[in-house]
Subunit: 169 residues, 2 copies
Amino acid sequence: MTHPDAIRLFAKTLRNLEQWMDKAAAHARAKSFEVDVLAQARLAPDQFSFIRQVQSACDQAKYAAAYLGGKTAPSHPDTEQTFEELRQRIRKCLEFVESVPEADFAGAEERKVSPPWLQGKWLRGDDYLAQVAIPNFFFHATTAYAILRHNGVDLGKMDFIGSVPIRDA
Amino acid sequence: MTHPDAIRLFAKTLRNLEQWMDKAAAHARAKSFEVDVLAQARLAPDQFSFIRQVQSACDQAKYAAAYLGGKTAPSHPDTEQTFEELRQRIRKCLEFVESVPEADFAGAEERKVSPPWLQGKWLRGDDYLAQVAIPNFFFHATTAYAILRHNGVDLGKMDFIGSVPIRDA
């Protein structure tokens, strides 16, 4: 998988996530509760809420695009409280992620990636993508999905995966 | 990310999963319940149980190695009922996945992948990896993790990610 392929996969999954939120909104209407109740939902008391799962998925996509594309990541403060604000966060994220030209990922495999949490140490770009960005992104996206699923939202695996480029003979 | 990198990532995550199961066993002992109760746990009544999440994660890894490495996948019937049997399933899966020589993934990007569920249609190898194998694998691995987390097992994100190859200056 090329680096632009990975970024496209993150973007596609964030767009899928917006559709899970549409289904959550429909569920809330059908059950006559405020959808933003689900923004605070979590699967264990010491786990991130739905809001932080979405923020974290966005950040994994944003930082992968920035670090591997040689850009400075824009600041997206974690201030969201509502589904509507989370939708805006996703769109801001997509706007940045999709602004990085494909050509700028050339050589990303060997780029030194040194996020602040590594305190001066670093990862090769290919290791960052495979062992940090991909598993973390899908960890948070799947947990966001699981929180909605656990709360009765009508979701199935195809909502998670979205469309795939199937070819005829 | 190269195809062998993806296979290594799946294998590493399956080994991490065995460690989540160790923590589940410790939790069960501390609370004096049979760990195999968790084998049937799920986050929603119409969702796969922990057992099927683990079986599905294994299958995603197995089929990715088979389809992209040009091998026939061995049959691993979904007969597991206990944690001990799931550990054996993981080991069988790892044994196969790690038996495919790296060189056999050469050209996998353009290989036609035509699993039975595509009914004669196909996906390019790169699309299969990026849009089927990776999201499905992490979907099932994360849901397995979330089921344990929701049931009080002492897990954190580092258990999910495992070790990463951090380098010094």
